[in-house]
């Protein structure tokens, strides 16, 4: 084959980053938006699974995977809206509701998803970015899905909007100081409700990527905790949408190390390499928590901080 062993590993890591990162990216962006408004939604694992199921089911019935993506977003916003609505009620803890919503989301996804394990639905296509290289491995690694580009654009738009628009300011203010927002006449509850709904939409779309692109099938073990990891990535990315994208890529890339090393014959210690993403996350968090800026990035209204 062309290229040496380090080349194969590097290509596999690059390919892994491009293939695996998108669901993390969407869930992290959704959670970033929700947390910026001052609320924590831990239920996004359930949203991701329900999104994956709805996307697969709708794609199967309509024959259009993009309608499936839309359906996943709608299912996700429904769960987000439910979370947002319940948390508006007095004396409700958003962390506890989030966990309940996670179980609820996976539960209904498994219930309705039963009929879709066997059938084959149309999947999303990919964009070939690497055909010019003339190297089959590199060309495969550089196959990307349009949703990944959408995710990056959403991140840039969010980052710009937080800093430069009135809407962004309102979301940030609701998240940093509810009394100030109320003094300005902003309905904090409404802002958080909308932010949670929109966050749910993004997480649902992340699920569509899982079932319609990579790994590209619906089954009950599909997510295996990715939604929960993505929520943690938001803290790691310190509530910055652009850093959420970077964190998702980093996570995808390190996740590919384990299989890639085994494929070239470096087979000792694969449990350690499979744990690489978590170890790396831990180290970066420890390193970044020490910086004096870290505290300022946290939205002041988050219930986990209060």
């Amino acid at each position: 084959m062309s290229g040496g062993t380090p080349f194969i590993v590097l290509v596999a890591i690059l390919g892994g980053a491009l293939r695996v990162s998108t669901p993390f990216m969407f869930v992290a962006l959704g959670e970033c938006l929700t947390e910026k408004s001052g609320r924590v939604n831990l239920g996004l694992e359930g949203t991701l699974v329900l999104g994956a199921m709805s996307a697969y089911a709708v794609s199967y019935h309509t024959g259009s995977p993009w309608l499936g993506v839309l359906a996943a977003g709608c299912a996700g916003s429904a769960l987000g809206a439910m979370h947002g609505f319940i948390c508006k009620l007095p004396r409700v803890n958003d962390v506890a509701i989030g966990i309940a919503m996670m179980l609820f989301g996976t539960g209904i996804a498994f219930f309705f998803g039963k009929a879709y394990i066997q059938p084959t639905a149309p999947r999303l296509g990919s964009i070939m970015l690497g055909d010019w290289t003339g190297n089959p491995q590199l060309a495969t690694a550089l196959q990307i899905n349009p949703l990944m580009i959408v995710g990056i654009l959403v991140a840039i738009a969010m980052w710009w909007a937080f800093a430069n628009t009135r809407w962004g300011l309102i979301v940030r203010m609701s998240g940093d100081s509810a009394p100030s927002a109320m003094a300005m006449g902003v309905s904090v509850d409404l802002v958080r409700f909308l932010a949670t709904t929109a966050g749910g939409f993004l997480a649902g779309v992340g699920g569509a990527f899982l079932s319609l692109y990579y790994p590209g099938s619906w089954n009950q073990g599909l997510s295996s905790g990715q939604g929960l990891m993505a929520v943690a990535l938001v803290i790691f990315a310190r509530w910055n949408p652009l850093r959420c994208v970077a964190a998702a890529f980093l996570f995808g890339a390190t996740g590919a190390i384990g299989p890639a090393l085994q494929s070239v014959g470096i087979t000792q210690g694969y449990y350690f390499f499979n744990a690489a993403p978590y170890i790396l996350t831990l180290f970066i968090m420890i390193a970044s928590a020490g910086s004096s800026k870290a505290g300022r990035d946290v939205p002041g209204e988050l219930s986990i901080i209060k």
Binding site: P215, G258, S263
Partner: protein, 369 residues
Amino acid sequence: MSIHMLSRRKFIRNTGALAASAGLMASTSEVAMAAGVTLGIVYVGPRDDFGWNQAHAVAAKALQSSGVKIIEEENVPETDACAKSMESMVNLDGAQIVLGTSFGYFSPFMVDLAKKYPKVEFRHAAPLWDASKHPMNLGSYFGYLNQAHYVDGVAAGLSTKSNKLGFVAAKPISSVLSNINSFLLGARKTNPNAIVQVIFTGDWSLPVREAEAVNALVDAGCDVITCHVDGPKVVIETAEKRGVKTCGHNASQAPLAPKGFITGAEYKWITIYKGYADKLAKGEKLPNMVAGGYDTDMVQNTPYGAGASDAARKAADAAIADLKAKKPIYVGPLKDNKGKIVIDKAYDNYDPYLDQMDYLLEGVVGSIT
């Protein structure tokens, strides 16, 4: 009808206790002997997972057509929940035999139930039953799937151009290692230059990592992929997308890979289940331990797919005939991939020494730690 039923019950009462206990199941050629039996079966996952659970569910469904009443429950976790479903199968549905198909159901749940309901038969799909410790109405059954993986290997050896075969495995336990080693020995039989490259994912169901493993293997030059994970769906589909050939595991994955599917290693649980039902209908004592492979019709290979060449089909058919004639797979001297001789002579396919496998043979690229 009622007279017939009465006489059969009498027959059960009078002869049941005296019937012989040892040995494998009788031949399954008798048809529809099993009508009137109620069989309960509990699965740990969905019945249509293209894997382990589906293999059992296919057998249960086939048994239903021969008149056995089947009570099924899926997605039952390996907790108190499995004891509750089994107990309700006994009390509410009148199941005469309950099958637990997941490893963790056995102890304490099925052991306790067998003590509580001594007139009901309990059977569990892993070799855990021990005559000195466990009740006599409890037992184990399993199949030597490695024989079918050997046949996969024989076909795969003739299907590869790069001489590199990829194996996505969950955990390095003896049954998984035995499938990998048997796959290699099959491939070496038809292609002495073949090597098997293994990736361990670390758990039974990790779809994203399984897809990553397939991509990594294909990038490293493997052009036939097989696996031992709970639901091989993702592995087979990803390999098909990458344009390489595949061999299946547990149940038939042929519909998932219309272009590249060669054949697959499948259990044939129906042989065992039908044996149980027939014996119950006749009022005979069920054996406590049932295990076997090709020679007792307990494993099989998926019908050849488009990926199997004529030469591969012929070689695989010949390998199946060899296994039916009890020809050994492990013929020494064979070294493990660290250079130590681990197989010193020809071992019978059911030799207990092979059940303790904790090594990968020379020719397998991979490590169990």
